[in-house]
Amino acid sequence: MKASFFCTNSYLSPEPFQHRGWPTPPRWSRPDVSVRSMEFALEQARLAEEAGFDWIACSEHHYTPALQTANPNIFAAALTRVVKRARIAVLGPLVSMTNPVRTAEELAMLDQLSGGRLVALFLRGTPNEFLAYGVNPQETRARTQEASELIVRALTEPETFGWEGRYFRFRTVAVWPRAIQQPHPPLFYSGNSIESASFAARNGFGLGVSFYPPHLVAQLTTHYRQECAKWGSRVVPDQLVYRTFVGVADSDKEADGMKTRFLGLGAIVASMSQGRGAVVGLPAMDLSPAPREVGTDADGRNLAADKGQAGFGFGGLQFCGSPDTVVKQIADFHELTGIGVLDVSFGGAGLTPEEAQRSFRLFSSEVLPRIRSIGSGSSARAESTATAK
């Protein structure tokens, strides 16, 4: 199993987090703190590589101090200068609301800057984020699908071409320079819904799932495998990425305390559902129950389901405990889902910076070396387990 370090580039001072609702007005942002935050994030990335992480990841988010990477490709460009071996994972750009040709150009540049180490995942975004660039939420699923196909075409097409789409029209496309990795860098698609998992399989993308509990992840990876089989391809663990939070402490008892206090992205989403974020129908978060069914991929069309138990899957500390416990949890998770790449984050509302740092240290030194072998012998078993359900 591989590990990816999700570099959130969070604002390092607590003041703006007092603001309830989305967006957080820029008056809360102090340039000196933002500079310090950026330097800290890059240093974290360097340390993560040193600790043995295979990927260093970043993601596009808007108007929030929690994730200050409005353009993940700019942040990834900076990562290429400090991360020398690990893959640079842009997980990912919100392709429903940005210019797909520009995204293709930036991804190709990143592959060049990183010496062919880029990995990218195409995301749709959460409803509040659609407001950042004024995109109609009802169109975002279709826009994401078209944009993803256009980006692939722009990365791979050797001749100048035009694109006459439903949402995008470009009469002259000729991406330069080309990516180092041919035909293109490894590409993933956000598959938090059955439909998206089908789309990923049909288009040859890897699958990215975030925050759901294991049995729902297994439901999605199983469906993805079945769809890939229809198209004649067999899924390997490296095609399956899961983004989650991890809390590691010296003992299970200490970790239990973290689990109780951890609010993670739930707190952020709860905040997003207030202020302007509320007008797009982002469901109010009930942080107590874990999701019990696969959701609707934030399309806002099935709010009844989202308001029930499905939610967006923004869970708690999925893997939490002593190093021994976390290793076992990850092994069981792999057995059930077949996931081959864990994209992990250690911070989160409710935890102290010291606890996050300790989690990172313990994961790096006592968990990461022991999960390496997971998947090497059991992947086939996990695959058959998942497909049999």
Partner: protein, 201 residues
């Protein structure tokens, strides 16, 4: 077709080429295999449209001359030429033999039933600006075939119509007509957006 001005036929070596003349404006000649065509209906609203209905399969190249004869009989000196699928070969033959009569050429998902590729065609000799369209879901001819045209036709505009199969006009009629109309009206300059992007000018 609505408001047909005239219908007729021309023959070369015993092969008959039937046509229908309708609409008004700049002349567009359409080589088609299907009698019913949303593209033809739209074109006839904005252009003078002469349609040539041809059977499926490989057409005889000598019909290339009959196209020119028909145009001359109709008093059309210069025109744009559009060919569907397997009629691309005929259109290319005509375009390369007709001097500067063909002002623009549009090939809709060109296909070649005889040898399944365009290697033998004199694409380098096409002097007219040429729009080559493929649907991204074309199961008959891989859309990547368009690269060959882009490489060999001097003024080629290779364009993909998203989510369309081989019959682009069936799957994405509005998109097809939008790009075809722009090309007919602006030729090479169709790549420049002509609509204002101002929200409140």
């Amino acid at each position: 077709m609505k408001n047909s001005r005239s219908q007729g036929a021309n023959g070369i070596d015993g092969t008959e080429l039937r046509h229908t003349d309708s609409g008004s404006g700049n002349a567009v000649l359409l080589l088609r295999t299907a009698q019913k065509s949303a593209l033809a209906d739209r074109l006839a609203q904005d252009f003078r449209l002469v349609t040539f209905d041809l059977p499926d399969g490989k057409p005889q190249r000598n019909l290339a001359e009959a196209i020119g004869q028909t145009a001359r009989q109709l008093g059309i000196a210069k025109y744009c030429l559009i060919a569907e699928s397997e009629l691309a070969e005929l259109a290319i033959a005509h375009a390369t033999r007709s001097g500067d009569s063909v002002e623009a050429l549009i090939l809709l998902a060109p296909a070649y039933p005889s040898n399944d590729n365009s290697d033998d065609l004199p694409l380098e000799e096409i002097s007219a600006p040429t729009l080559v369209l493929f649907g991204t879901r074309d199961q008959v001819v891989p859309p990547e075939t368009g690269r060959n045209y882009a490489r060999r036709i001097p003024k080629c505009f290779y364009t993909l119509v998203y989510d369309a199969g081989h019959d682009i006009g069936v799957d994405r009629p509005q998109s097809l007509y939008a790009v075809v109309r722009d090309f007919l009206e602006h030729r090479e300059k169709f790549i420049i957006p002509h609509q204002s992007s101002a929200i409140n000018p």
